[in-house]
């Protein structure tokens, strides 16, 4: 299984390469952002371990470049910084997991295992309705103006339901089924609150209300 390791500390890189190799990966190690960018585009890797602080650039830029080109291999980012905003921007840039230094090799291997298992059989699934795109893996809505909006669990499921059949009317009861776990006692007000929030993200006209009947996704062009 091919793995790309992007890390500029030679001591750490060598040790990781040894341990990852003995765990069964065939590892390509690179220490620069430009080299990583090129390798990632040329070769077909199963998984990538990406350090963020590289001598010639930021790992996040490399990752954004890959994702913009449609490369979907799972990526774990490594960084010495541990604040939450950093993690959020890492995941927003397209990372699948995040590991703060220092970490233990077992932890990294476990994360890689989980990522690979998760990404097996995963196809690049984009739900498109009009010029709206719902990225089902990343749970992100791309609006026609090119902005990406991260969605919470319920928002995502609700929107996926509506966007799966644009123009079709969904009753509140039907949406409640989609949205809540069985042990919850759902209310119509809650649905309205979610719809309000989704409208704020997608635009007022994207979700149409039919009074007393339900909601409909309006795929405007």
């Amino acid at each position: 299984m091919r793995l790309l390791l992007v890390e500029d500390d030679s001591l750490l890189a060598e040790s990781l390469q040894r341990q990852l190799s003995s765990a069964g990966f065939s590892v390509d190690a690179i220490a620069t952002a430009s080299g990583a960018d090129q390798l990632g585009r040329q070769e077909d890797y199963r998984v990538v371990v990406l350090d963020l602080g590289l001598p010639d650039g930021n790992g996040l830029e490399v990752l954004r470049g890959w994702r913009a080109r449609g490369l979907t291999m799972p990526v774990v980012i490594l960084t010495a910084r541990s604040d939450w905003q950093d993690k959020v921007s890492g995941l927003k840039a397209g990372a699948d997991d995040y590991l703060a230094k220092p970490f233990q090799t077992e932890e990294l291997l476990a994360r890689l295992d989980a990522l690979i298992r998760r990404s097996e059989g995963r196809v690049d699934s984009m739900l498109c309705a009009g010029r709206f795109k719902l990225d089902e893996n990343r749970q992100v809505l791309a609006t026609p103006d090119g902005e990406e909006h991260p969605l919470t669990g319920t928002e995502f499921r609700l929107l996926r339901c509506l966007m799966s059949r644009p123009g079709q009317l969904f009753s509140k009861e039907r949406l409640l089924e989609q949205v809540y776990n069985l042990d919850e006692s759902p209310t119509h007000n809650a649905i309205e609150a979610y719809i309000r929030r989704l409208r704020k993200l997608a635009g007022k006209d994207a979700i149409v209300t039919r009074r007393g009947q339900g909601y409909m996704f309006n795929a405007l062009d």
Partner: protein, 446 residues
């Protein structure tokens, strides 16, 4: 007016507004004075001309149209300041010879009223006249009385110039008063500047609160900021001292072992070395996080809904089998007086903790009520027994639970919350898991 920024300097702003204004007002007063003077002089001249015409008329009536009577008697010279001309039928009389060419044509025209000529040739170029027509028996009588305006204009001009001089002097005084007023009222600013300079040089510790009312809140705020800075310095010194104390020893130990040439590193020693390094990392992480908190600060705020959404989305990506949900009625734009990093640290840690322990569902609710700003995270995990609830996130707990993510996160949350004067309550959630409720005061108190 992009080239004058009135907010740059109070002194300049006052001068820029007051000086042109006083000059313009003085100028306007002078112009109005001129116009009034002109009008007064005109009506005075008109009255006199009319009076003299009626006097002449009276005399002509008395003399029954005899013009000769007018020329006799010296008192005419004394009574009439003006030149006059009279025509009775075809008889004419001119009081002064040099006026003859000017008044002769006027005698031939009809109509009662004032006549103004400014363009006539000869010695008198600008004059004002009153003409009256009437019938005496069968004869037509025309009386014209005229005054040379240039003499009046000259004296009027002189008066006007004198007014200008007086105005200029008054203007000078006014400017002086304005300048003095600005200087006096801004003296307190200069005092403040001096005090600030002294503060910078370390000659004083705090600003004097005995300043004009307008500056008192400013001085108060500054002093509070200085207090905060002092506290922060003390805190970071303490943190660094702690850190160096707890880090130097393990570093020394590790170096000693590594530099021992003859000593073979067996597995047990390696593990010990690794443990020392982990300890160092733990200490570093702990102290660094603490010193990164901003704490309550004026002018620092964050949008809790936006930040919560991002964190929830991120944790949803990391804990794929768990459902993170946000419940709030707050608008996305709503801001809370909590520094962004601090808020992230609080929300991130309680959400991450809930994500670790929750079975399938984590709910964050944000609201504002009478108690203040409320953040509540509930999960459906195993929860914590009642007895242990109170010890969650306390210092003792943290130190003996160094396993990744256990306890440390909640201890950090407690720390941040305390710094904002808020409190944390741990409770059991409806589904038996843990519920963490954080309440922060809705106002920053420095």
């Amino acid at each position: 007016m992009p080239w004058i920024d009135l907010n740059r300097s109070i002194r300049r702003a006052l001068l820029i507004v007051l000086l042109p204004a006083s000059i313009a007002l003085m100028g306007a007063a002078w112009v109005i004075h001129g116009a009034l003077l002109e009008r007064m002089a005109r009506s005075f001249v008109e009255d006199r001309l009319r009076e003299e015409v009626s006097f002449l008329k009276h005399r002509i009536n008395q003399a029954d149209g005899s013009i000769n009577a007018l020329s006799t008697g010296d008192y005419f010279e004394a009574v009439f300041h003006h030149a006059f001309a009279v025509r009775v039928g075809s008889q004419r009389y001119f009081s002064l010879a040099r006026w003859k060419p000017l008044l002769a044509p006027l005698l031939e025209e009809n109509g009662t009223g004032f006549i103004r000529r400014t363009d006539s040739d000869g010695a008198i170029s600008d004059y004002f006249a009153y003409r009256e027509n009437f019938k005496l028996g069968e004869r037509e009588v025309v009386i014209v009385v005229a005054e040379d305006l240039s003499r009046i204009d000259a004296s009027q001009r002189e008066l006007h110039i004198w007014t200008a001089v007086v105005s200029a002097v008054l203007l000078g005084l006014l400017v002086l008063v304005i300048w003095m007023a600005i200087r006096l009222s801004l003296a307190s600013v200069t005092n403040l500047q001096t005090a600030l300079k002294q503060l910078q040089q370390g000659e004083r510790e705090r600003l004097d609160s005995d300043t004009p009312e307008e500056f008192r809140p400013l001085v108060h705020q500054l002093n509070q900021l200085l207090d905060t800075l002092d506290q922060r310095l003390a805190r970071s010194r303490e943190a660094l001292a702690n850190l160096s104390h707890s880090v130097k020893t393990p570093i020394t130990a590790v170096r000693q072992v590594l530099e021992e040439r003859d000593q073979h590193l067996d597995w047990g020693t390696r593990q010990q070395l690794a443990q020392r390094l982990s300890d160092i990392d733990g200490q570093l992480e702990n102290e660094m996080r603490r010193s990164r908190f901003a704490g309550a600060q004026a002018g620092k705020g964050a949008a809790p809904v936006t930040q919560a959404r991002e964190l929830i989305w991120m944790l949803g990506r990391l804990y794929l089998d768990k459902d993170f949900e946000l419940e709030t009625a707050l608008a996305d734009e709503r801001r809370w007086p909590i520094e962004e990093y601090d808020l992230n640290e609080v929300l991130g840690n309680i959400l991450d903790n809930a994500g670790k322990w929750g079975a399938s569902r984590v709910v964050l609710s944000l609201r504002e009520d009478k108690a203040g700003l409320v953040m509540e995270v509930s999960d459906d995990g195993p929860g914590v027994t009642r007895e242990r609830l109170s010890t969650l996130g306390t210092r003792g707990q943290r130190l003996d639970e160094q396993a990744p993510g256990h306890g440390l996160g909640l201890a950090i949350v407690r720390d941040v919350v305390r710094r904002y004067g808020g409190w944390v309550v741990f409770d059991c959630s409806e589904s038996g898991g843990l519920q963490v409720r954080i309440v922060l005061p809705d106002r920053v108190s420095l």
